[in-house]
Symmetry: C2
Subunit: 451 residues, 2 copies
């Protein structure tokens, strides 16, 4: 028996665990599913004979060490900042580690020790980061192997609601951590490269500088730029490209409407609102509007945002029940961002039968034998239900597949790494196709920014 310890049994672990349990008999696997909440861990075992649940407090040093010592490989689905102590124990007990999180500086610092112990610490192998890396590196390496020269790389990814569950004016529901959606784009200007020129966009203009995308069968999308696209130059070996842009996908019209919250200051997470516990939604809104003796909150809002009452932007606000004076915020010492998250959750929480959707869209520009070409690579994945969501599948399956490949000696290169090498992405992308994660690649003339 090979023992896999999975730490963190939250939403993103569902597909990961089901995959490994399905293979457990054939592959001789034993799963220990650990969570601070034993109940959650228990439910995730699906009562499978090859799975057991463990109540684990990762801050309990002894208990954590004992659990890790018994495993052959550890999967950490903890929040990113909690991986590091698990990682250090993995070195101590010589266990491989797999995570879906960005490599932190602390994690990178372990590289020498990981290599010295001949261990694989595979990170960034979920969706974004994860499938985006793998599907991009596949095309980039194919271009290079043919003797082509990369000119441009644009990459877009979004977690959205499936068309059949798309029932509101924002064409959006929370399919992942709502807090991250509210805070998206904060913390510094977006930086990217367009046709050789470095471009910078401040937060206050981020949602007004979108790009359009079209996906056959799914219609038109938009994307706003991610914070730092430039670091992918070195990671993907794209030192000579003139365009490098990564963005987040939404349905067209979302960003323009979201920008209203940005302009009003409702996404701010740096201070708390006085009396947030007892204030109504309407009072919350009024905090961001000028005082007027007689004008209504609605009138002041339209005036400030310069929109008419028959503007679809206005209808989007009304749909959220923002102006309700009976609904109470009921959060103690909350920031504007926390209050906005609560208001949006009233409207944007997935309903029992709702499905989510993941969209990835890469554009690769390259030159081959003096001719410029472009490859567009697109992937759409729809969730099965509220447990096996598209998000849980796309985050969890690559983690599960990588874990098995490491246990089976198919991924052997030691060190702290991300999935940009062929021995990793080739088998995983191939296997993901069986699970509905299919990239459709189209070759076309190079458009660049000529359109």
């Amino acid at each position: 028996m090979r023992n896999i310890l999975i730490i963190g049994a939250g939403r993103s672990a569902s597909s990961l665990i089901r995959y490994l349990l399905d293979k457990s008999t054939a592959e001789d696997l034993k799963l220990v599913i650990a969570d601070i909440d034993l109940d959650i861990a228990q439910r995730k075992t699906l009562n499978h004979p090859n799975a057991s649940a463990l109540a684990l407090d990762i801050f309990d040093i002894k208990q954590r060490a004992a659990a890790i010592e018994k495993a052959n490989l550890v999967v950490s689905m903890l929040p990113a900042h909690l991986h590091i102590e698990v990682a250090k124990d993995c070195i101590r007990f010589k266990k491989h580690l797999v995570t879906a999180s960005y490599i932190s500086e602390q994690m990178q610092d372990l590289d020498t020790a990981v290599k010295a112990n001949n261990l694989v610490f595979m990170n960034e192998i979920g969706l974004d980061p994860g499938i985006d890396h793998m599907s991009a590196m596949k095309v980039i390496n194919e271009v290079k192997e043919k003797g082509g020269k990369m000119l441009a790389f644009e990459s877009f990814c979004g977690g959205l609601v499936a068309p059949e569950s798309d029932t509101n004016l924002w064409n959006y529901k929370f399919t992942w951590a709502p807090r991250n959606v509210v805070l998206a784009g904060q913390g510094g200007a977006a930086k990217f490269l367009q046709e050789g020129t470095l471009k910078y966009i401040p937060y206050c203009n981020l949602f007004r500088r979108t790009e359009f995308l079209e996906v056959d069968g799914y219609g038109k999308f938009e994307a706003y730029p991610n914070r730092d696209s430039l670091k992918y130059k070195s990671v993907y070996g794209l030192e000579d490209v003139v365009t490098l842009y990564r963005g987040t996908i939404r349905k067209v019209g979302f960003s323009k409407a979201w920008n209203m919250f940005v302009q009003l200051g409702m996404t701010d997470d740096t201070y708390t609102i006085e009396n947030s516990e007892t204030m109504s939604y309407r009072q919350f809104v009024n905090s961001f509007l000028p005082y007027h003796l007689s004008d209504s909150v609605e009138s002041k809002m339209r005036l400030l945002l310069k929109i008419d009452q028959d503007d679809i932007m206005w209808e989007k606000l009304v749909e959220l029940d923002l102006f309700n004076d009976d609904k109470i915020v009921a959060l103690k010492k909350a920031s504007p961002a926390q209050i906005l998250e609560k208001i949006l959750s009233d409207s944007w929480t997935l309903q029992t039968n709702d499905k989510d959707m993941i969209v990835i869209y890469h554009k690769f520009g390259y030159e081959l034998e003096g001719v410029k070409h472009q490859i567009d690579s697109k992937m759409v994945c729809i969730g099965e239900d509220q447990t096996y969501t598209a998000m849980a599948k796309t985050v969890g399956l690559p983690v599960a597949m990588a874990s098995l490949l490491i246990l089976n000696g198919k991924i052997t290169q030691p060190g702290v790494q991300l999935p940009i090498r062929k021995e990793v992405y080739e088998p995983i992308l191939k296997e993901l196709e069986q699970y509905g994660v299919n990239f459709k690649e189209d070759v076309m003339p190079y458009y660049g920014y000529k359109l």
Copy 2:
């Protein structure tokens, strides 16, 4: 002889030193003017027999202690964060201290020791903070003494260019640290109270939410809110007011135009621009605009800002020579804010014969015997020349006057303090009138926000 040690002999020390030298014979004063740059200190002595210059590195502990030990009172005109070591030495050698800076937490922590040694540490006694405190507390205390109840307090202050030197479309020149002007409003939402409702304005909307002010003989001004008006509740004893607002004064139209830089992201000081040393002003501007194959920087700018070429906003940008491709930024690893400061300095630096202007406008709302009243208190001060600027006068004179009052035993209450007590503000406001700092107070019916 009473010895006054003045540490820091920069621009804001001119009027301060001249005032004390003028009184030095009658008041038996000896001034030691200390600066890291001996030349600057020397020039500020005006070759007066009662002044001597000292080259002082305040990080040289021995030298600093020796200078402070010889003084009867120390004036620190250093940047705010450098006062603390001077203050500690003042306690050690039992010397009074005067500064024009906000009381830092570290400074406040010295209060017990300062009191134990029966010393006066007077802070916030320049212009803003300083004259604003004193002129406000005078009216607030008068209202309270008459049995009135304060309802509202609004206070506005601005350092501007004098009408006779107002020669550009922005009606603005740098009369004080340009860096602070570029960074104004950053670092958190503005918070204030209007008619009982707490209001919050994010940075991206700060310069679009201005109030208008009218000053007889000087025309119309506007003001944008300062970061935190609420702390003045406790400082000024205004616990029951329904309106509390402090703002920065500009000539009408400045803020709307400044907002273009905010929206473009040019005021950001949190990252550095690659190649800032060799890029042209035009390239700098283009970094904040979308890529286009053929559109000019000018066209892209107008499109992004949604302005026509005959809009005065556009002319304001052109006046700054922003689109010049021959002017080079020539700053290494500079932030957008640093580059913008340089570009603006080309246009906004005071010329040899230019004069500056300080404007303060307070509005006090109160109820007396069942009737609501309002007092508007206004002050305009114009500089003499480039040395004895309005800024140098209004910052330096109260510091000088307070120093003399302390030496002469007129200000005696020990402790770390700011000038909100009558024994401090009454003589200083009175004497400031002789130097052209006159507040004109008008009583009128209470307007509140009814207009």
